[in-house]
């Protein structure tokens, strides 16, 4: 049974005309037509017959496998004023995503089959792109008792995470690794040693010292990364590390992978682009957890994404109500939105300056995150389901609070001009977005 849930609509008949078709995994980089019959890629070639299909003009554009976001907060149930399944998946479609994974730190927490089934039902009615729902590792994410992972897996969970909080107890973490193995689903870990991060609003370093903020040191993350990789090695189980922010964490991941641990990691656009210098503005839209760290950390993250030690970009899209972010930095909640800006932010800030190849970025936003959760990677090949994104790499656009499909606008990019925009998104054979 699939772990992705969305509208069940008949697949569409399309021809994308004359785009530069770019799928690094398939060895594809050529100007071609792509024909989709009933939601499935039927043929790639030059000057394909239209056969009455809807034609999408791709001239001057790039057609790539659509993106997969492994880390989104849909805020439903509980904070539908901040995001709903409908608004969050519309935002995902506008960002070029054909699938997203939603975190279970909602109210109530997704820790029972009843809550999960309600979400899956809602996704079938209103999700613009398929959604996978992670369920909690511990009941109420309290770090005390395991959730009924077997029943949750049967009900359609996509994995397990206490994201938003660490699994503090090493003993419980070990039991989770042991038990989750019977479901075949991944554990996704928010790595934070709470006695070291306590009171921390920003990265502990020269900026926190000067501004007077309580600091969350890098070692507060990497210590838990080391612990969980040691447990994963001991139990022989895979795991996925959420939103890595520190060089030491990346180094621990590299060592563990070299020693044979099946560990994957993800990194957010904001950690790849910004450093803690940005928080000098005291703008609450630069407050997130884990915090923006030093330039040395940022460089380590970019290098790890480039060479594949980190296989996935994750938006960690975290919508917040405007009135909650309109507060002093210290009082504002952690988190920023990112679904609708992820590609453009990284294309503008990493690809254009030459820090990352376009092909690498496309892979890390699509096949990479799919692989981390053992999902079918989107690809452009005859017979594959149509999961396609059409990109305009020349277009510049200004990020504004009014332009989002998300219900929230707490973006770290407000007012910035970005290059690269999503023209069309095809998700599971359906046109989910057209600019």
């Amino acid at each position: 049974m699939s772990v992705l849930h969305g509208k069940t609509a008949p697949g569409e008949d399309l021809v994308v005309r004359g785009a530069r078709v770019l799928d690094p995994a398939e060895g594809l980089d050529a100007v071609l037509d792509v024909r989709v019959d009933g939601g499935v890629i039927a043929q790639l070639g030059e000057r394909l017959a239209v056969n009455g299909h809807r034609v999408v003009d791709g001239e001057g554009l790039v057609l790539a496998p659509a993106f997969v976001d492994p880390h989104v907060h849909l805020r439903t149930p509980g904070r539908e004023d901040e995001e709903t399944i409908a608004s969050g998946t519309a935002a995902a479609a506008a960002g070029g995503f054909c699938a997203i994974l939603a975190m279970p730190n909602t109210d109530p927490v997704v820790d029972s089959a009843a809550v999960l089934e309600g979400l899956i039902e809602a996704a079938r009615l209103e999700a613009e792109v398929p959604v996978g729902f992670l369920a909690a590792i511990s009941k109420g994410q309290l770090g005390e008792e395991l959730t009924e992972m077997g029943e949750l897996a049967d009900a359609g969970a996509a994995g397990f995470s206490d994201d938003g909080r660490p699994v503090v107890s090493a003993g419980l973490m070990r039991r989770a690794l042991q038990y989750a193995s019977t479901t075949g689903l991944r554990l996704a870990l928010h790595e934070e040693e709470p006695t070291l991060s306590k009171g921390g609003h920003v990265h502990e370093g020269t900026v926190s010292a000067e501004l007077g903020f309580g600091g969350y040191p890098s070692v507060g993350e990497s210590l838990m990364v080391e612990r969980d990789l040691a447990l994963a090695a001991y139990e022989g189980q895979p795991l996925h590390l959420l939103h890595l922010s520190a060089r030491e964490s990346v180094e621990a991941l590299v060592r563990a992978r070299a020693a044979g641990v099946q560990a994957t990691g993800e990194v957010t656009p904001h950690h790849l682009v910004l450093t803690d210098e940005a928080v000098r503005s005291l703008d609450p839209n630069l407050k997130m957890s884990p915090p923006l760290r030093s330039e040395d950390d940022r460089k380590a993250l970019v290098e790890a994404l480039r060479n594949g030690d980190i296989c996935a970009v994750a938006s960690d899209h975290a919508p917040h109500a405007r009135h909650e972010k309109e507060a002093p930095f210290e009082a504002a909640p952690f988190g920023v939105t990112g679904l609708e800006t992820a590609f453009a932010a990284l294309y503008t800030h990493l690809v254009l300056p030459g820090a990352l190849r376009l092909e690498t970025l496309l892979e890390r936003m699509s096949a990479g995150p799919a692989r981390a959760y053992a999902l079918e990677p989107p690809r452009i090949a005859a017979g594959a389901p149509a999961n396609l994104v059409l990109l305009d790499l020349e277009r510049s656009w200004r990020v504004s609070a009014e332009g989002f499909r998300s219900r929230s606008a707490n973006s770290w990019l407000l007012g910035e001009t970005l290059r690269g925009s999503v023209v069309t998104t095809v998700a599971a054979g359906r046109v989910a977005f057209s600019a």
């Binding site: 009171g199 609003h201 502990e204 370093g205 020269t206 900026v207 926190s208 010292a209 000067e210 501004l211 007077g212 903020f213 309580g214 600091g215 040191p217 005291l282 609450p284 009135h323 309109e326 507060a327 002093p328 930095f329 210290e330 009082a331």
Partner: protein, 330 residues
């Protein structure tokens, strides 16, 4: 048709200067600091007159908005505004709509409806004065935001040092104690460095923030290092900001024994300062606190004239008005 003058010109407040704020010492250049200290000195002379009130800010409104307890800062801002003939209004969070859950933004907007010229704010959270500056039309003065900045304290400290020692440039100032929780320390490090002083931070390791050397100061855990300083600036142990079990130091008793500033640790001629309130017997021994040559009372006096200078400076245009003011006072 002739203009109808409802208000005669001499009753009209002077035209508003471009909106400026004092949120951080970083907002100031060395020239700005020199000008503020000179203005404060002028006001000090004016306070020697029998009638202490100056008409300078007549028709202006200064609101003080305090979300944390304060004696020195709130009283001196209020008195400073009154001495300059401004209308003042003091709001304390306790007993206001804040108790009913009003957000800072809404409180600020409410006050802004009265069109105040200056809002002076103290708040426990970093970034609160910046928020007030964003949402209101007033000049905003930061009277302390969390552990971040307390710029008028640093200015009054500079004023005190200069009045006592005749200069700031080239002096060595040791700042002792709980630097981690201290907005006074952060503003003072920046202000002292801006004016060319050397700064050494002295305290237990957990209370010296990692990375603070980037502000251009030295750090040491050796209390003996204060012997070399011209000024020993003692910080309050901010127990209210230390959670139980945080173990910054094993005990106040041990802190006092190892880092307390006592007569035995000072050499003759060293000047001792403290922003108040003092924990006697903890960071500062009672005999030193009561010594005639400590500058603690001078600091409080300097607070009034420095804050008069800040209000005056924000509501006028800088150097030229200072000269006019000197003529007026003379």
């Amino acid at each position: 048709m002739p203009d109808i003058h409802v208000v005669s010109d001499d009753l009209r407040p002077p035209a508003r200067p471009p909106r400026r704020h004092l949120l951080s010492i970083e907002d100031l250049s060395r020239d700005d600091v020199e000008r503020l200290l000179a203005t404060a000195h002028t006001f000090e002379r004016s306070l020697e007159r029998e009638v202490k009130k100056l008409p300078t800010l007549r028709g202006r409104t200064v609101i003080t908005l305090f979300y944390e307890s304060s004696t020195r800062t709130s009283s001196s801002f209020e008195l400073a505004a009154k001495r300059l003939s401004a209308d003042t209004m003091s709001i304390k969070a306790a007993g206001s709509s804040v108790d009913k859950g009003e957000s800072l933004k809404d409180t600020a907007l409410t006050l802004d409806a009265y069109d105040p010229d200056v809002i002076v704010i103290r708040h426990p959270q970093i970034g609160a004065p910046q928020l007030v500056a964003r949402v209101t039309g007033a000049h905003v003065v930061n009277a302390g935001d969390g552990k971040h900045q307390h710029p008028t304290q640093a200015l009054l400290d500079l004023y005190t040092i200069k009045a006592e020692l005749g200069r700031i440039e080239g002096l060595h100032v040791a700042i002792v104690g709980d630097v981690l929780h201290s907005r006074v320390a952060r503003s003072n490090i920046q202000a002292l460095r801006l004016m060319g002083a050397r700064v050494t931070l002295v305290g237990p390791p957990a209370l010296l923030p990692r990375g603070i050397e980037a502000m251009g100061c030295e750090t040491t855990t050796e209390i003996g290092a204060i012997a070399d300083a011209d000024v020993v600036y003692v910080l309050r142990m901010q127990q209210e900001r230390m959670e139980a079990g945080s173990n910054f130091v094993p005990s106040l008793r041990e802190y006092a024994a190892r880092w307390g500033v006592t007569a035995a640790r000072l050499r003759p001629g060293q000047k001792v300062m403290h922003p108040g309130p003092i924990n006697r017997g903890v960071e500062l021994s009672a005999d030193v606190a009561d010594r005639a040559d400590t500058l603690i009372q001078d600091q409080v006096r300097a607070g009034l004239v420095t804050r008069m200078a800040v209000l005056y400076d924000l509501l006028t245009q800088g150097p030229a008005p200072v000269r006019e003011l000197e003529e007026a006072v003379a």
